[in-house]
Symmetry: C2
């Protein structure tokens, strides 16, 4: 295990992530990580073969003469799966992953040009002239970013620097070509920015940070051109520092802001942080779904207008959910503020968890909050069911690398304070200013609100802070069985005293189901309610219900009962609904006065992320309130 060098972040007194010192147990996240290892990643490796992504690289070394297949950024799928495999080999040696890892590292090494260029889409003889000509759509810097991230994973997880040598040659080429003041360049699809900052953290070479900073600084000049969707699509209509609005392609926007936050973490440039905070607030208050989904528009995969949040046409790309987690994590590092953990876990347990099927082998690209009966699907873009792969396969490998490294997001340290950012069964072994501390976290969260933390190895000066989620309406803390009043500050419950070995801390969060209504400016959910339990958003699915779920109305005041059936995200819920009489009025009959009959009916709700695993049918998160 190679330790990252100290970063500017720690010099600024901000949060340092506890990374590589956390092991997951069999909690919700641990089980997902296991499913990812056992099913999803092997499936992904097979699809890299059958969809030609590996052959695209093999052709470069004479290993095949198959034509190039897939989108221009097909290499990035390889890089992302390779990153996931590296993290997993760090957890446990496995012969099939090892074989893929060794072959792919060798393939990338051999395929790289002398000058460091490595991108099979533009190493084809017929496209060599097009290298570095289409920054808006060519995705070369995007692919390079994923290559760098895979290399960093192989160093951090395995101590293997062979891929780092490849990625560094690519990064050095990028620095040579675009790092200087004479260059105006930056990528149409951000990604390389945070890869370069992390490469700086790993190597200490400031030119990587400087180039990442240049890419962030230059953006907004309009240099990328208008493309099909205008400059805002690329976040190229205004400088990162000079806007408070989340706009354009959601994944691009979230990767850009993750990179910009990383630049802040290493430079301490407050003008960046001020703008990023304003954009964060814009996203959270005006342009995000209850599920943590972002980017409502299908046409350009973009953030829409403020409060433009349709349930049925929620694009809410899985990759945008992951991008929001990346950004939330970095904003937490930058500010130490627990609120970022709320959005992080909302995205993780809803829009991101929704991306993978129960069996681990099919995936959603878009994550709507409603599926109508007889849905008219345009295949990849608005599939009614998870698909087992995509032509544009960005999301499945992104899920793979996310779950393979999810333990990296559980905790942070700030001086001698250890902060628990996310709760799941795990062992956390880390160094505070005062010395090493080891915690065992035992919890079925988010199924259950009880979180038991045992200090396995402690010391005199370290303190513990626990994130109190923003949704919490009730909690209690005990230390060695004695109730205490933990001071709440900035979303953190501060435990008094040092982390002495053997101390047992218990946090109980009230997970009673809540009935929520939307901000009145969100037209799409007016007159409707949604049910949430802790961070878990619920939905009606047709397969669970007798009544036509599009005719069900919910009384917000009726009790909601926990059924005996529990998923990995929490119990199935039973509520009292009413079923409207059918009222399929003709056009000419638009009429305020007619009121349909209603009959009482039991309805069942399930965690949103678990929908679509049974019988195909309609689904809705927002349900009309009975009074309407």
């Amino acid at each position: 295990m190679t330790t990252a060098r100290p970063t500017q972040a720690s010099r600024l007194g901000l949060v340092t992530p506890v990374k590589g010192d956390v092991v997951l147990g069999d909690g919700t996240l641990g089980l997902w990580q296991r499913r990812n290892r056992q099913t999803t990643i092997p499936h992904g490796i097979e699809r890299l073969e059958s969809y030609g992504a590996l052959d695209n690289l093999r052709r470069l070394i004479g290993g095949t003469d198959a034509p190039f297949r897939g989108p221009v950024f097909a290499d990035s799928d390889v890089h992302k799966v390779l990153e996931a495999v590296a993290w997993e080999l760090g957890h446990e040696e496995q012969s099939d992953f090892r074989a893929f890892y060794e072959e792919t590292v060798a393939l990338l090494t051999a395929a790289q040009d002398q000058d460091g260029y490595l991108d099979s889409a533009f190493q084809r003889a017929d496209r060599v002239q097009e290298r570095w000509t289409d920054f808006a759509s060519g995705h070369e810097l995007y692919c390079a970013g994923h290559l760098i991230q895979a290399a960093i994973a192989s160093v951090r997880a395995l101590g293997d620097d062979r891929l780092l040598a490849v990625a560094s040659r690519t990064a050095d080429l990028i620095v040579r070509l675009f790092g200087g003041a004479e260059s105006q360049a930056y990528p149409g699809h951000p990604e390389v920015e945070y890869a370069l900052v992390e490469l700086y953290r790993l190597t200490g070479r400031t030119e990587y940070l400087d180039t990442a900073k240049a890419f962030v600084d230059r953006r907004g000049s309009g240099w990328l051109g208008r493309g099909a969707f205008g400059t805002a699509y690329f976040q190229d209509d205004a400088s990162v520092r000079e806007t408070a609005v989340m706009r354009g392609h959601a994944v691009r926007a979230l990767y850009l802001n993750s990179g910009a936050t990383d630049v802040y973490l290493e430079t301490g440039d407050d003008t960046l942080l001020t703008a990023l905070k304003a954009q964060w607030d814009d996203m959270v208050t005006r342009r995000s779904y209850l599920t943590g989904g972002t980017g409502s528009r299908h046409r350009d995969e973009a953030f829409g207008d403020a409060y433009e949040l349709p349930s049925d046409r929620a694009y809410a790309e899985t990759c945008a959910g992951i991008g929001a987690m990346h950004w939330a994590w970095r904003m937490y590092q930058a500010t130490g503020d627990a609120q970022y953990g709320d959005f992080f876990e909302t995205a993780l347990y809803n829009v991101v968890a929704d991306g993978t099927s129960d069996d681990g082998a099919s995936f959603f690209y878009s994550n709507p909050l409603q599926l109508r009966p007889d849905h008219i699907s345009v295949q990849e873009e608005a599939a009614a069911r998870r698909l087992d792969w995509y032509f544009c396969a960005c999301c499945p490998p992104n899920l793979m690398r996310t779950f393979a490294s999810i333990e990296g997001y559980l905790a942070g340290t700030r001086g001698d304070e250890l902060q628990l950012f996310q709760y799941t069964r795990s062992r956390i072994d880390t160094a505070l200013d005062g010395g090493r501390v080891v915690l065992d976290v035992d919890t079925d969260y988010p199924v259950d609100g009880g979180i038991l933390i045992t200090v396995v190895e402690g010391f005199d000066s370290g303190t513990l802070a626990l994130r109190l989620p923003g949704w919490s309406t009730g909690h209690s803390v005990t230390v060695d069985g004695r109730p205490i009043e933990a001071a709440l500050e900035n979303g953190w419950l501060h435990l008094p005293g040092a982390l002495a070995t053997g101390t047992v801390v218990r946090l109980d969060l009230d997970l009673a189901p809540e009935v929520l209504s939307g901000n009145p400016r969100i037209d799409a959910v007016r007159g409707s309610v949604a049910v949430r339990r802790g961070p878990i958003v619920y939905c009606l699915e047709q397969g669970d219900n007798q009544a036509d779920i599009d005719q069900v109305v919910l009384d917000p005041t009726s009790p909601i009962a926990l059924s005996g059936d529990t998923t990995q995200l929490g119990p199935i819920l039973d509520a009292v609904g009413h079923v409207r009489g059918d009222d399929d009025r003709l056009y000419a009959g638009w009429d305020a006065s007619s009121s349909a009959e209603q009959t009482a009916s039991q309805v069942r709700l399930r965690p949103y992320a678990t929908w679509g695993n049974g019988r195909p049918g309609a689904m809705r998160v927002w349900v009309p309130a009975a009074s309407v």
Copy 2:
């Protein structure tokens, strides 16, 4: 004036349109036709020059060496403007229109290949090999359809058959290549179907009808391929006869069904009519907006799922509104049912009228029912303001030819019954079975509900039927000042007795504003109300109001007053609204219990189609109801 030959329609005893025998006065439609003639068409001619559409054709005869510009279907813009000009020259000789007409007819004649091929996109040397290879997207048959329609206009309006000679050569080529049983071909974008049926009506040549029928019959085989959006996009997933669902690209669907209805009108094939009626009902009850807009989805310009009708992301293309008028008109001919007039006038006075600015020189492509403040626009696709032209310029010339020939949609005859389908100031001079009849219609409809019909020339056996709009909640009829009870059948008020010269009939329709709510299955408008007066849908526009219109709620029971200000579509309305306190709750604060303060406020509503002519700002048709 060349008279159309008798059609099968008349032999089936169905409605025959009164065409070419109607003259508009200075009513709403007459004034729009004048604006179209004085401003919109001249503007369009200029844009055909400045956007290169005419040069595309001139290059073929050596008149320029400018490169091809515009989309592959740029020729169709020329054909549509030419059609508009032909109709207008039929109204009144004008030197500027005459010059354009003569030059363009000569240009098209000279540019046509020996074999009848005429499409400048594929007459370029570098694309000749691509002719007739891309039926899905090449638009060759689509452009041919518009050429044929322009030619028919020039015959019907001017008795000039020079363009007919050109169009017939193209049509003959199409018949030769694709008319036979050995061909599987049909167009990716329907249009040529109804052009060919009309060419059959004009010439009596059955091969045109047969080819149109073949194109309709073959569709649904999947022969067009999947394209970017799947087979349903092209209505190629199922035969026209075997589906009850409106799906895919809305303009394609509506042009296809217009053509299929025309095939029915000439063949009497009831299997077609049965399917078309089911699809009509699907559109009207489940997939259309209060404004007559259709095709809610932006990404593929498509009909969405049933009840997927967002106000903000209503695509509702102007051309789809025109296509719905075409189809409604033909369904009326096929069935004699007045209900088709309701949708026709709804589309005409709302989604289609909305397409043109007050000054006649800028245009909407998409027609949302809501514009949010600080709208993020992707230029052509979701413009916040009417644009003065488009790269994809299908809509403006479509508006031009529609308003230039709008008098053709006012009335129909069925045996010795004259049916008034639409009301506007006009003179109708037509032949019934029993002889000629001339009516003067005097009305400010839809501003005013009074319609005065004077029989200028009548005869013993003719009768008159007046469409009673479906929205009508009250009406009265007098004949020569005496109140009568006119029998209502199938939406028609049948006047007793013959049309004796000098008879004066007066129909009064109650135009009191109505407050409407949506079908409860339409999630997007739940808890909201809309105001309609007669066929005119109203909206709140920010420029008319002091209060933030996104904070206004309306009490559905409050009186709505007519203000003194009247537009061409009706008075401005004053209502009592309430303004919610701002309630920009943070994400963590989603909460059913908080209730915002409200203060009373006067609000103003204007006819939807007149929005966007003043100060830029938000707009909404559906307004939250006060109880929510």
